[in-house]
Each structure stands twice: as C-alpha cells, then as structure tokens.
Subunit: 329 residues, 2 copies
C-alpha cells in the first residue's frame, strides 16, 4: 500500500481547473489498492462556496498494472451501472467531456468519492448484503455492450502456473504438483455452457463499502471482464466465507450470501450444479496470483505479501466439501 | 510514505465509541509523514446526524520513531498554541479526558483535521505567510512551561556524524571531511547566549497547510523541542528558500520570509548577527539525518530516500553567502 507517483498539490489544483469541481482545499495520498496511486481530494465545490468537506473526489493515477487501453471499458461500465442505480464510483468528465487525462506522467482520472468502510470480519448479514449487491450488479449489467477478455481465465491460470514453475515448492513442498493436478481437473470439468456477462471478478470485502449492514459502494472494477456470470459469485464466496487464513469455512455467511444473491438475481440449476467447480477455479485463481506475487516480491519490501496458502486451504475445502453447504439449503 | 500498522475498520469504529465523535463512515490510510501510521477518518458527528463530510479526524498510530513518553509534551504544546489562536491540530480527548490510547498494538491519538494543501514551489507571498506564521507560533509559545531536549542539537550532530563514519564518502567523495570541518567550525562559533524557547524545528512546506497565500495549519510537531528560537527561522529558511536540489537560492522568498517573521515576531540584533551560522547548523542537521537515512535505507525500499547533497549545497551557500541577502535588506 503506497503512493507510487507523487503529484505536487499545485499540479492537482491546476488539473482540477479543467473540471467544474472548484478549487483544491485538501489532498491526501491514500493507501488504497496495490495497483494505482490514489489521492483523496477535497474541493470548494463548483459554486466555490467552500462548504468544507462536502466535495470529495478520488484522483487515480494508473500505474503499470492497468492498461490504459482498458480504461474506456471500465468508464463505460461504471456509467452503465450507475445509471441503473448501482452504487459505483463514476468517472467524472471535464468541461470538454474528457474523462481520461494525463497527470504526473500517468493516465489519470477524477472519480466519485463514496462513503462507507470495508469490513474485515463480515457478519452473515453483511455477507447477505454483499450477495444481494452482486446480484443487483449482474442485473444492471444486462444489456451492457462492452466486452473485455478475462486475462485470468483457465488459459491464464496455466500461463501463471508455468511462470511460477519450481518456485511453487519454495512456498510449500508439493504445491507445484497440487496446482498441476487441479489444472488437469479443471481442464476436463470447467463448464463451457453457462451464461456469460460482465463480472466484477474481485469482489473482496476490501472492494465493498458498507455502513452497518448496508452496502454503500462497490469499488475497484479494474479486474472486471466478460466471463461466466456465476463465477463472480464463486469469487465473492471464496473472499467472504472463510477466515482470512482459509482454515475455517463459515457456513452461516455462505448461506446468507446465497440467499442475498437469490433475492436479487439467483442461480439457474445448471449454475448451481457447477458452483463447486467454479469455486475451485476461484480459489485457484487467487492461489496463483498470490503465489506469483510471493515469488516476485522481495521479502523485505514494504508491500505486504498475501499468503498463497490461504487460498490452497480454500481450494482443498471446495474440492472435498458437500456441495449442499456451499450456498445453504 | 506508507501505512505501517493496518487497523481493521471495525476496530477503528469501536475505538471511536470512546469519543463524542459519532460513528465511522469512512477510513482511508494516508501517506503522510514517514514517522507514523495515519488514517483520515470521517464520522457521522457527535449528534449522529450524518452530515456527510462535515466531521473529519486524523487517527495517528505512533511507530517506533516517536517516543511515547514525549507525547504529553506534544499534546500540551498544541493545546497551549491552539488556545492562543495558532492554527494547529489539537489532540482530542475521549469522554474520560484521555488523549492517549492504544490501538493496533500502538500508542494512538485522535487529532483534529485541518484543511489546506502543502505547496511544493512556494511563491514569495507564501514564504512571507510561512514566516509570519512561525513568528505567531513563537509569540504564542511564550509562557509554555514544557521542555524537551533537542536530540538533533550540536552534540546530536556529532553523534550522527560518528555513526555515518566512512559511509559518508559512499554518498559523495570528500563528504566525511566536509562534515568534520563544519562540525569543528560550529563547535567554535555556535551561539550560546541567544533566546531559547519551544521551536517547531521542522517547518518544511510539507508541514504547512495553505489555501492560496494564507496559512491554514501548522502540523507535524514531532520534532518540536526547546532550542535557540532563531534557529527555527533558520530551519524554515533552509526548507523554503531554495530549489529542491539546493542548487538555487531564491532571494525573493527569503526576503519575504524575513519580512513576514519581522511582522509578527522579529529578530534581535544578536539573532540577526548569528543568523548565517544558525542557517549553517540547520543545513548540516538535514544533511546529517538524510545521510544517515540514505546509508541505512535499502536502495530498493519503497520509501523515497531524500538526497543529502541537496543540503550540502545549502550548507555551502550559507558558508559563503553575503549575510545581507539571507533575510533581505
């Protein structure tokens, strides 16, 4: 968590003059996400009245992990979702209608600020609300014309596993064989006929803003893509329904999440039947990206490395669990 | 710039229940300073009315560089200064009157949030305002009973230089001899009879919040201590009146800063006569701490190392400049 690109406050103030956003009164680099540099801005507002605190924005500078060519997809998606009532942060256009700018030598966007906090230990009611918000997102995404390939699909998992190679076993003996075995299984069993749509693909508690049990925002759509829709629920399930280390599955959170999703969208019988394997894929996806980052991040770096084995434990659970417990009765 | 101690939002919300501050509606880890972990909080306010954005606080967790035993000095100082009209962030007491808490295994304080941005390239008018604010701070500090030794005084500079030893010359050939020569000069010429008071001791542009040409806050008092009062102006001078790399002295900023300080406090003839040597001390102090950090920070760490030579250049300037240009005519 760090600000990678430092932008002088004077430059941010000058940048804001392109928008109807007022003058800068506060700018704080925030430790949000690991992909980009983010600033929380406060301005006087378009009317310049200077109601302190009433006008806040996120300024995002895109570092190398986000491809500038993907930004129009994300912008159009959030416009589409926002127009249909989803609580998502919209990209703000300047007076000439531009949403994509350059600042500090980086692609940069001004984005709506949303209140809410990210929970660390979700209650079942909070998991229910997250499931319901995901269902609403899937409903709102219907009719969205944009498409983006999921770089982290089954083919992408194979690529990542090949890059990790023998280093898997530095993380844990036997991990390379376990990953190879799972990839072989998924090659045979991964469903090819389920409904596809735009998905968030990374709806961890970090990316859901809440006040109490109510969702106030879904954020960080930079992994959103076109893929199996029910896979999005599997990702969310793997993120919300376990202890952080993956050692404990919380059936109450999972049942509540399933009920929340059913209340706003729901799964077909085919999606329900495939859900255990979708969850195995979700767990493998995060196992692989965490393993890759683990291998490629110096141990003494200031970024915290996330434990890949926390998702191997989830994978092992999904591979052996009674399918009936995954989403409740 | 990083958040060193991560505190779950649920714990911050629970922490806030000790205060008349309302419930948490937003918490962002901010990249402020290098000494502590800081969060920018937003709450519903004591009345729970939830006026979005109207209630903001800084939550600071003290990492190892700040000694917990020094916190009461800083708290009492900011109370004293705030009560006398200085725009400083006050420490907030909980319902039982406690200002110092524990959170995430660290000493922690809730602190007033102040608006304003830190300039990177001060104009002369902004340098004038900073000088005036420093003079007001020195006036307001009169009568403050607290005392704190400056660990970075002449004796401390000798200690730091000894710790750097031969590593100085890894930074730049000849630097060790240059530092030794300067220390010998200061041992003979450092003034012993100037007025002492509480000083900020680190009033870089980073630590001054401004809106346009007006100062809205002086922050980061964690180096404040008891020392020669005019040395505080010398530190501020070295921080504000040069290009970042120290290669260019801006006489217009310096003259404006001197005029600003004179308007609210002013220097005696003895302080004015000693000012060049106080500036040499200030430049050496930052040269030394930057050199020490340079030597002890891995080159690939995510914290940005600040160039010690930017202050050697200031030192060289102060050692050879016509004293008349330092604060204008």
């Amino acid at each position: 968590m760090a600000v990678y690109t430092h932008v002088p406050a004077e430059e941010i103030d000058a940048f804001l003059t392109r928008y109807d956003a007022g003058r800068l009164v506060s700018a704080k680099g925030i430790a949000e996400g690991v992909e980009n540099s983010n600033y929380l801005l406060e301005t006087t507002g378009a009317d310049g009245a200077g109601q302190s605190g009433s006008h806040r924005y996120i300024l995002t500078l895109y570092e190398k992990r986000v491809d500038e060519a993907d930004l129009p997809f994300f912008m159009d998606l959030l416009d589409h979702l926002g127009a249909r009532g989803c609580l998502v942060p919209r990209f703000i256009a300047d007076r000439e209608g531009n949403r994509l700018q350059q600042l500090g030598g980086r692609p940069a966007c001004l984005i709506e600020f949303l209140t809410g906090i990210s929970v660390t230990e979700p209650t079942p009611d909070q998991a229910r609300a997250a499931g319901a918000a995901l269902g609403e997102l899937h409903k709102a995404a219907e009719g969205f014309a944009g498409k983006r390939r999921n770089a982290l699909d089954l083919a992408g998992w194979h690529d990542l596993a090949a890059k990790c190679g023998d280093d898997f076993d530095v993380i844990a003996p036997g991990l390379k064989a376990r990953v190879a075995q799972e990839l072989s299984y998924l090659d045979v069993h991964w469903p090819g006929d389920l409904a596809r749509s735009v998905i968030h693909a990374d709806l961890f508690p970090d990316n859901v803003l809440m006040l109490g049990d109510a969702v106030t925002g879904l954020i960080d759509f930079y992994f959103s893509c076109t893929d199996i829709r029910a896979y999005d629920l599997a990702v969310t399930h793997s993120a919300w329904c376990f202890s952080n280390d993956g050692a404990t599955f919380f059936a109450d959170r999972a049942a509540a999440m399933g009920a929340g999703y059913a209340a706003t969208h729901g799964l077909t019988d085919a999606e329900r039947a495939a859900f255990p394997i979708l969850c195995r894929g979700a767990a493998l996806r995060f196992l692989l990206t965490r393993a890759y980052d683990w291998i490629n991040t110096p141990a003494d770096a200031l970024v915290t490395r996330k434990d890949p084995l926390a998702f191997q434990r989830r994978l092992d659970f999904y591979a052996s669990a009674d399918p009936a417990v995954l989403l409740g009765a």
